[in-house]
């Protein structure tokens, strides 16, 4: 079986792409998808190290991360629908009522 360092590098690259998406994009939907990419990158690292050490804990933690990701997507999209109903926009720079 391969050394996990290649998987960790891949995980870092995917996480970096997710960070770039969250920082750069204005569309709230794409920002939420970038967050999903970041959570998935973390799962890659968990699985790679877990199977490298022969430990089932990596899979269990990745399972918990997936649960949290599903809950986050559901609540985030519900917030998005509520905001869209109110302001008719998905541009994150226009959603600045909480900004000082």
């Amino acid at each position: 079986m391969m050394d996990p360092s290649a998987y960790l590098l891949l995980s870092g690259i995917l996480f970096g792409i997710g960070v770039a998406g969250v920082v750069v994009r204005k569309n709230v939907l794409i920002i939420l998808m970038s967050v999903e990419i970041m959570l998935n990158a973390v799962n890659v690292a968990f699985i790679a190290v877990g199977s490298h050490l022969g430990d089932v804990t990596g899979s269990v933690f990745a399972f918990m991360v997936m649960t949290v990701a599903a809950a986050e997507a559901a609540v985030g999209l519900a917030i998005l629908i509520a905001i869209f109903r109110l302001k008719e926009t998905i541009d994150i720079t226009e959603l600045s009522v909480l900004k000082w």
Binding site: G12, G18, R25, L29, G50, M66, A69, I81
Partner: protein, 162 residues
């Protein structure tokens, strides 16, 4: 065999992720997100994590992305009303920060070479199920409370009048 498949599916995952963050219309992003998630599921299979690979396809590609597509179609922003995105100085700085992060991750990953004891069943359905219902039973049960809270929260937020 594993290195070749790793390179193929890793390249698909990274390419799909880049397409997700660069597409203008969120629907294209969602479809490329499915591609990335399937490639990551294939990587899970390569690491013998069969249970997680199945959950990845069922929960992520089958439920989360469908939820995204539902919302994209529900709010249905026309092409000319999508936010205008230009590459300003601050955004370029954001991309540089992400690149710096990838570089750091590469440096850390290069040093990870502890001797491991790989076992074939560390990610099988039986092994994960046994761990979930013995050592991690409390965490597993609390997960159901989290999901219930998410369901109630999503309904409460999205419903016009409760």
């Amino acid at each position: 065999m594993e290195p070749i498949l790793f390179i193929v599916f890793g390249a698909i995952a990274v390419g799909g992720a880049i397409m997700v963050v660069t597409r203008r219309h969120p629907m294209s992003s969602a479809l490329f997100l499915i591609l990335t998630l399937f490639a990551v599921a294939a990587l899970f299979v390569l690491r013998q994590a069969h249970f997680l690979a199945a959950i990845q396809v069922i929960v992520y590609a089958g439920a989360v992305v469908v939820l995204f597509i539902f919302v994209i179609m529900l709010i249905n922003v026309p092409e000319n009303k999508l936010p205008l995105e230009r590459l300003t100085g601050f955004r370029f700085l954001g991309i540089m920060v992400a690149g710096l992060f990838i570089l750091e991750a590469a440096l850390v990953a290069r040093r990870f070479a502890t001797p491991g004891t790989p076992t074939a069943d560390s990610g099988s359905v039986e092994a994960v199920g046994r761990a979930l219902f013995t050592d991690y039973l409390l965490a597993f049960e609390v997960t159901s409370v989290l999901l219930l809270a998410a369901v109630i929260g999503a309904i409460a937020l999205a419903k016009k009048r409760i």
